[in-house]
Amino acid sequence: MTIPVAMTVNGKPVSGKVEARTLLVQFLREHLGMTGTHVGCDTSQCGACVVHVDGKSVKSCTILAVQAEGAKVTTIEGLAESAEKLHPMQEAFRENHALQCGFCTPGMVMSAIDMVKRHNYQLDEATVRRELEGNLCRCTGYHNIVKAILAAAPAMKSAGV
């Protein structure tokens, strides 16, 4: 049984026909071809799939596409203003070598932006580490990810994003 869905992804209206069981991440990757959002587990724990739904971080592997009907979805593809002007969080990840294989990166960046905003641009190391509970990285040992997020918080504030 297919159901029509429509939502806004990275500012653009999109629509499609899905099964009820189609997850948001499947809709993004398979229907829209937006493969920046990754899948790293089947138990909702790794966070590789995190996107923003109506401004909040959500595991796109644990929400049905139909549940996002009418929602505003932002993915890693929608963050940078242009190839030259990345989001301050993306820039901080690059500056601080906070990614190696890049597989966890989309979810990390999306979670990190949500984290900075929820904490009103003020974070300390312990908070960042605790708040990353839902994002696994096997490459970096987290050291540089934590550094990047701490560096991005004031940068996001001054950039007004």
Partner: protein
């Protein structure tokens, strides 16, 4: 021009742009027109006979395109998967080599073993249909327990390996070691289990294959660390597709840590079935499949004894290990507990005689093979645990005991009693630096302060040696290794002056696209933005061995330097011609050819252009074009070394261990990009900390099920499990490769387990605990404390 981008610079990574903007291309991201999707039906049992498989109902399910079982592959004469390293046992006999069919034929031997492959129009439909396959199993007795695998009466897993023994192997002369022990003033004994780990690269394994009927060519996209080796195995041993008809592409790969070196059932089946189905086939593992079927790591049971004289000098070391192979031999499994383990048992020390006996055993578990460090973490854990234990027993400072036994700087090259010849090193300054950074002197005050808060604080050392960048090929061949250990590189200059580096190494997080470009930028004076690294495609890059064993820069980077030297040599001739000078008078400096003592100069770019537009060119002596390749075979391993110091606090009420300080000082020889090297160390340390405190692959002894089969039960290190790290480094350049570099990819994971566990033991010594099993989970620590002091609570 290249000062900011050359060797030694903290260049920001070239690969980051695509990963940060969601435009990386991993195997599962490929859009393949008319693709079908594969799902594998797996054995729910640890050991059973397959009496029958009925696929008739499944075949009629919606969307099903094809179903294959072991009968189909046997009928088509598909070969079995191979083990590529022949280890000879102590009687000179090759190891037992039981068959490893790509699909189970009549027996399944571990939970997750491949029983059937369903290909359908969608993954969900393939999965729906797999549930409709009826398999009639007859249960067989199973054993998942390594400690009892070689016991008489243990369930027999393969007829070809009586008593489940793959080999009984030794290194060293037992009588010599016994003689040393007879003279010992003190003997320290240690029993340990090196816990089994599941690699868990964040990108699950995936494969996609396409067959072109017109040309008869196959293309396989695979999450591989070494696409050429995968192609070689599939062509020569398994599928018989000629190498030139099979293109293997490993695009962006999301971490490997060893687990993506090997040739697996699924990619084999996807390739084989692509021509039968006539449409592309995609398969991506679900995480639970990764848990069950990626080759696991470690899993040793070991008894070790260290003999010391009255001053604490090591006289000899004896090590007995049983190593788990799992149910089948994976691609390099046999080498890991032998040539990558026992040969490392000298560590940083002058121990004059060493004897190691290793027995490899089969169990009804997933195959075990190389995982970050492969054998070397296991060896380091044995040595560094027993050295710290000896220090405790002798009431000596653990740093002092280590210093006393370090190989002195003037003894290099140093021949160890376990085959390796260390090329270079200088260990005392490393431990001194680590001690300084970690403020070792202030430790007792910190311990006392912690005590006032009810916490037990401890400190642990681990001084590791690593042998990586394997080679030379001749020696590896003598030891039974089935492949060469060289690496290839091609430098392709384009007429407009930009460069492509084609390498046989493969980057799945290691940053080759940046470091290799730095090397070329430095050598040739080309701006880094004009350099592109091409890797991971057998159709575009020269044959290469791929990336594992911290070899990429030491071996692959050396090949690049050789190719760059050829570019310079050719460029010199062209420049000499253009400047009407003798080649002998031409020098190459900062990207420009000059004639000493004159102001004549030809930039490299001009020479390259002349090579492509050879209007004024010595065509009689020189070919046009500027495209040079090189193969580099190392003359020895490289030997990174270092010391880690870990400080922990244990909560005696709950058994929780917190890492409060962690210092690592390494000698990786010359460093091309310190930022990237630090990143490798951070990641390695956390994998080592994971082994020490968190990770444990557990099979249920009764049912044979993998209990730790998801992130619900397998503890992955998270950001709040670890602190930030303090790093230092010392440099003794590698004397035998042109860059003077040693590998850095595995060091963190090699040293950390011992550093952490030594700290835990140090913390718990005051409450009478002498042994905590690894991982030191809250439960294990609490039980150790509880067992030590039953009356205290």
């Amino acid at each position: 021009m290249t000062a900011q981008t050359g060797i030694g610079a903290r260049v920001k990574r070239k690969e980051d742009q695509r990963f940060l903007t969601g435009t990386g291309r991993y195997v599962d991201d490929l859009p393949l027109a008319r693709a079908t999707y594969a799902h594998f039906l797996r054995s729910p049992h640890a050991h059973a006979k397959i009496k029958s498989i009925d696929t008739s109902a499944a075949a009629k399910m919606p969307g099903v395109v094809a179903i294959f079982t072991g009968k189909d592959t046997a009928d088509a004469k598909v070969g079995g998967l191979i083990c590529g390293w022949v280890v000879k046992d102590k009687h000179g006999q090759p190891h037992k080599a039981p068959p490893h069919p790509v699909m189970a034929l009549d027996t399944v031997r571990y939970v997750g073993d491949t029983v059937a492959m369903v290909v359908a129009n969608s993954h969900d439909e393939a999965k729906d249909a797999a549930e409709a396959i009826k398999v009639d199993y007859e249960m067989l007795p199973a054993n998942v327990d390594l400690a009892t695998a070689l016991d008489k009466g243990a369930p027999q897993i393969h007829a070809e390996a009586p008593g489940n023994l793959i080999y009984d192997w030794e290194l060293g002369v037992k009588a010599d070691v016994d003689a040393a022990f007879a003279k010992a003033a003190h003997v320290t004994k240690l029993d340990l289990v090196n816990n089994r780990l599941i690699p868990n690269a964040m990108e699950p394994r995936a494969a996609a294959a396409e067959y072109d009927k017109g040309t008869g060519n196959y293309t396989l996209w695979s999450t591989s660390q070494n696409p050429h080796v995968l192609r070689l195995i599939l062509s020569a041993f398994v599928l018989g597709i000629p190498e030139h008809k099979l293109r293997v592409i490993a695009p962006d790969v999301g971490g490997g840590f060893g687990s993506k070196i090997f040739c697996y059932n699924e990619e084999t089946m996807v390739t084989w079935a692509a021509s039968r189905v006539g449409r592309p086939i995609k398969w991506t593992a679900e995480r639970s499949e990764s848990f069950q079927t990626d080759a696991h790591g470690r899993d040793h049971v070991t008894h070790a004894e260290l003999a010391l004289d009255k001053d604490g000098k090591f006289l000899g070391l004896k090590v007995e290990t049983i190593a788990n192979m799992g149910a089948y031999l994976s691609t390099f499994s046999t080498a890991v507990p032998t040539y990558l383990y026992a040969t490392l048992l000298a560590g940083q020390y002058t121990t004059p005689v060493i004897y190691a006996n290793v027995k490899a055993a089969l169990t009804n578990t997933a195959p075990v093979d190389a995982y970050r460090g492969a054998g070397r973490p296991e060896a380091t854990f044995v040595i560094e645990s027993i050295v710290s234990k000896a220090a405790k027993e002798l009431k000596m400072d653990p740093a002092e005991l280590r210093r006393k036994n370090f190989i002195p700087a003037n003894a290099f090259p140093y021949q160890t009693p376990v085959a390796l010849q260390y090329d270079s090193g200088n260990y005392p300054p490393i431990i001194d630096e680590a001690i300084k950074i970690a403020d070792y002197k202030g430790f007792e005050a910190r311990r006392a302060e912690a005590k006032s808060r009810g916490k037990l604080r401890g400190i642990g050392f681990s001084s590791y040696i690593e042998a990586c960048g394997l080679g030379p090929s001749r020696v590896i061949g003598q030891l039974g290794g089935g492949v060469g250990q060289w690496e290839s590189a091609e430098l392709r200059f384009n007429p407009t002056g930009n460069v492509q580096i084609l390498t046989g190494a493969h980057s799945h997080g290691q940053s080759h696209e940046t470091t290799f470009a730095q090397v070329v930028s430095d050598k040739l004076g080309v701006p880094i933005e004009n350099i592109e690294v091409v890797h991971g495609d057998t159709a575009t890059t020269p044959f290469g061995m791929g990336s594992y064993g911290s070899r990429s820069l030491a071996v692959g980077g050396s090949a690049i330097v050789k190719a760059a030297d050829k570019i310079i040599a050719k460029g010199k001739k062209i420049a000499a011609h253009l400047m009407e000078a003798s080649v002998a008078d031409v020098v190459f400096e900062g990207g420009t050819f000059k004639v000493a003592g004159t102001d004549k100069a030809v930039p490299l770019g001009q020479a390259v252009f002349a090579a492509y537009v050879p209007h004024n060119y010595p065509l009689e002596e020189l070919e046009p074009g500027m495209d040079e390749n090189a193969f580099y075979d190392p003359s020895n391993f490289v030997y990174p070394a270092g010391t880690q110091i870990c400080e922990v606090e244990v909560d005696p009420d709950t058994g929780e261990v917190e890492i409060v300080n962690f210092t690592a000082v390494d000698d990786f020889g010359n460093i091309v990009n310190p930022m990237i090297v630090e990143g490798q160390v951070h990641g390695g340390i956390v994998q080592g900390v994971g082994q020490a405190l968190l990770e444990n692959a557990v099979y249920d002894k009764e049912t044979g099920q993998l209990v730790s089969g998801s992130y619900m039960d397998y503890t992955m290190p998270r950001a709040d499990d670890v602190p930030s790290f303090k790093l230092g480094n010392k440099v003794t350049p590698c004397p035998h490769n042109p860059l003077g570099v040693k590998g850095c990819g595995e060091a963190g994971a090699i040293a950390a387990p011992a550093a952490v566990m030594n700290a835990v033991h140090d913390a718990l010594a005051p409450v009478g605990v002498s042994h905590v099993p690894m991982p030191a989970t809250p439960l294990n620590v609490w039980q150790a404390i509880h067992g030590a002091r039953p009356a205290a609570e």
